[in-house]
């Protein structure tokens, strides 16, 4: 098992090779990070196809900006911040109201697709997502990064380019608002089920 220093070292080597148009190195980066990038885009856009397009655009933008990336920092938060910005830009673009309706429709379908007791936690998770979507964008992003993408406080700080202390205070406020939203719309989520 590699420690974080060795992972950073490997990552720095891959980035250095990819900068010199090494196809294998870039493919390795894409293979490693395509899942979190796609998932981040999906959380923001709520549509599989749009998330796929956004993930592709994220990786292309990342490749073009690779020379600006600091290899001393972890790659995942950097890619996730590009993914979040790309997805937000797409959401802001035209047809947003129609897309929002489609998102809502798909969300209801997705919730309906998990009716059994065995997948109750998945249904709760979808309800949590719905509650998060009712929060301001900054709150959404920090919750997605910290809890859905499971970044550490330091990685979240790197993704948002803010100090770790600010991450903690923003997270605290976001969780307070999320708790209030859940208490109104999804009180069943407060019952701690196994």
């Amino acid at each position: 098992m590699k420690n974080s220093g060795e992972i950073l070292q490997d990552q720095a080597e891959l980035v250095a090779k990819a900068r010199h148009a090494d196809e294998a190195a870039w493919s390795a980066i894409v293979r490693t990070y395509q899942e979190p990038v796609f998932r981040m885009a999906y959380l923001i856009l709520g549509d599989r196809h749009e998330a796929e397009d956004a993930a592709q655009e994220t990786l292309i933008r990342a490749y073009r900006s690779l020379h600006q990336f600091d290899p001393e920092r972890p790659l995942k938060p950097w890619l996730l911040s590009i993914a979040a910005n790309t997805a937000k830009n797409r959401r802001r673009a035209g047809w947003r109201y129609i897309k929002a309706l489609r998102r809502l429709f798909r969300l209801e379908q997705a919730v309906a697709a998990y009716p059994s007791e065995a997948s109750a936690s998945a249904t709760d998770s979808l309800h949590l997502w719905e509650a998060v979507q009712s929060l301001p964008q900054n709150d959404q992003q920090i919750i997605y990064l910290r809890y859905f993408m499971e970044l550490s406080v330091a990685e979240t700080a790197s993704a948002l380019d803010i100090p770790p202390g600010t991450v903690k205070s923003r997270l605290h406020r976001a969780l307070e608002r999320l708790k209030a939203s859940i208490a109104v719309d999804f009180p069943e989520l407060m019952d701690d089920k196994p």
């Binding site: 796929e52 993930a55 592709q56 998945a122």
Partner: protein, 124 residues
């Protein structure tokens, strides 16, 4: 600022977020692979460059052609700039001179109406 958020709520959020049912991740290695990137970059940049170069060439040719006096005159003529046009024309014929009593219509009025009227008949 006090960090008083109950840990159990945060833990609950963490546990729910961990089991979120994401759709399966598509394979982006081909879509965002190096070959695709260079192809897309060429596709995206090439038309812009071509249009830019074409525009510069057209502007340079237009500017150069204005250095030739005859071309410059033709352009000014076409645009009708910097000149006063004087048209020398013969005056238009007076309509009254065409409808004098000796004309074909007056002939028809004075002659036998049963006879056909011929235009441009000699002496008419």
């Amino acid at each position: 600022m006090t960090q008083s958020m109950p840990d159990d709520f945060e833990a609950r959020i963490q546990s729910l977020a961990r089991v979120f049912p994401y759709p399966s991740t598509p394979d982006l290695t081909t879509q965002a692979g190096m070959g695709r990137l260079t192809y897309r970059a060429a596709q995206k940049i090439a038309p812009q460059r071509v249009v830019r170069y074409a525009l510069v060439i057209v502007l340079l040719l237009a500017a150069a052609s204005l250095l030739v006096p005859s071309v410059r005159a033709a352009v000014l003529e076409f645009l009708q700039i910097g000149g006063l046009r004087i048209n020398l024309q013969t005056p238009a014929p007076d309509p009254e001179t065409q409808l004098q009593p000796g004309g074909i219509f007056s002939n028809r009025a004075h002659n036998d109406p049963t006879q056909p009227v011929f235009r441009n008949q000699p002496g008419g």
